[in-house]
Amino acid sequence: MTRAMEEKLPGKLIAVEGLDGSGKSTQIHLVHQWLQSKGYRVFFSEWNSSVLVREATRKGKKRQLLTPTTFSLIHATDFADRYERQILPLLRAGYLVLCDRYIFTAFARDAVRGCDPAWLRKMYGFARIPDITMLFRLPLAVALERILEGRPQLKYFEAGMDLDLSPDPTESFRIFQGRVLAEYLRMVDEFGFTVVDATQTVHRQQTAVRRLIQDRVDLGFFHKRYIQ
């Protein structure tokens, strides 16, 4: 496990971050389609998607038994499973790995829940910092509007109800998302995020995103025809 961090990997890691409603999932989906259609070796990975851990998370969330620490640990477990089983082997095999949310989601959310930022960074210390991390930035009010008009029924943890910010789920969600956004902005310099203006049209954002990837990654290397 120690060697993994020093090893130079042929693959590239690209992550998108941002609030719910920032449009980052749409953008990374379009990137995925584009890279696939061009015949590149590409893999897409989502936050919180490992089957085994999902069960425990679901149970914990349902019964509201999770504390900030266990909430954080259970997501770290899920991430470690996905990282060591998918992300790292694919990077070793020379893939472009696209992540819809990465460790910064945990850094932001868990810090809002009161977890020590230093502890979080150490715990996730086994994970590589992506080659490109894009933060889709949107004014809080716009992000809230997009989410709140779509699904009025907010889930307990999603709304940050465990933080006792407000007895009203919508109000709690507003406060919670505002704090998450502040945490994201704090990390821009720390981790070298590329900030994407998410108020622009989907197409214009996508054009900028593709250009960024082309500039920063030697895509030819990832073509399926290219034998390492």
Binding site: M1, V53, L65, T69, T77, D81, E84, W119, K122, M123
Partner: protein, 245 residues
């Protein structure tokens, strides 16, 4: 009545100042007599009028069943398994140990973070990483490490089980295809990690090669000292409180 602290980081939402109970961790391999001693100690403490709470590893309802399932399939990477265990540990710490300590109980922990750390390190995790994950654990008032010679351990294991346990033999570590050889090597490795941790975490060694009754008396004597110490601290705090009022 002892003031509690952690190994560096404070878990969110936990008020350590209000934990007046006593936390005692008993470590040692399976068949070293941990559970027998904990049963005897519980009886003795209760006779003395102390409320006792027992906690162990992998008893929490949060991830217990998922851990069992994962272990059966042996499909998790060491790091994932390690974090799963950590989740389970902190779930127990926050939902069982902390409330019991707050209520002034003597908490007897049948194994604590040290076993989890040793297991993870033997499986290749970086010691610093493991220590940082567990840096929010409450420091026990005393940690007793039951040491036992390998030959006695082997004998006791076969006496009570007639076969070796897959995980206690470290069969997932690829030390040997032979179960017995793997068991011996794995136990040696775990023990060596415990000795490396001994100073940093202030383990008190307990010679567990002796009879149950002798070990019990030994533990009682040492725990009595811990309780006396806690009593003194508590009394001092109470009197100080009165003066300031």
């Amino acid at each position: 009545m002892s003031p509690k602290h952690t190994y560096g980081m404070i878990p969110a939402g936990v008020d350590l100042g209000k934990l007046s109970g006593t936390l005692i961790a008993i470590e040692g391999p399976d068949s070293s007599g941990r559970s027998t001693q904990i049963a005897l100690l519980t009886q003795w403490l209760e006779e003395q009028g102390h409320a006792v709470a027992q906690v162990g590893l992998r008893r929490s309802s949060l991830v217990g069943p998922e851990l069992d399932k994962a272990k059966q399939g042996n499909i998790l990477s060491p790091r994932t398994l390690g974090l799963f265990y950590a989740t389970d540990f902190f779930d127990q710490m926050e939902n069982r140990i902390v409330p019991a300590l707050r209520a002034g109980f003597v908490v007897l922990a049948d194994r604590y973070i040290y076993t989890l750390m040793a297991r993870a390190i033997v499986r290749g995790a970086e010691p610093e990483w493991v220590a940082s994950v567990y840096s929010m654990a409450i420091v026990p008032d005393a940690v007793f490490y039951m040491t036992i010679s390998l030959s006695t351990l082997v004998q006791r294991t076969f006496q009570s089980h007639s076969e070796l346990d897959y995980w206690e033999s470290g069969m997932d570590c690829g030390l040997s295809r032979d179960w017995f050889q793997s068991f011996v090597r794995y136990q040696r490795k775990i023990r060596s990690e415990f000795f490396k941790m001994q100073k940093k975490y202030a383990f008190e060694l307990v010679n567990a090669n002796r009879s149950v009754a002798v070990v019990d008396r030994d533990l009682q004597g040492r725990i009595q000292l811990v309780l006396n110490q806690a009593e003194k601290l508590g009394a001092r705090r109470v009197s100080r409180g009165r003066v300031s009022q």
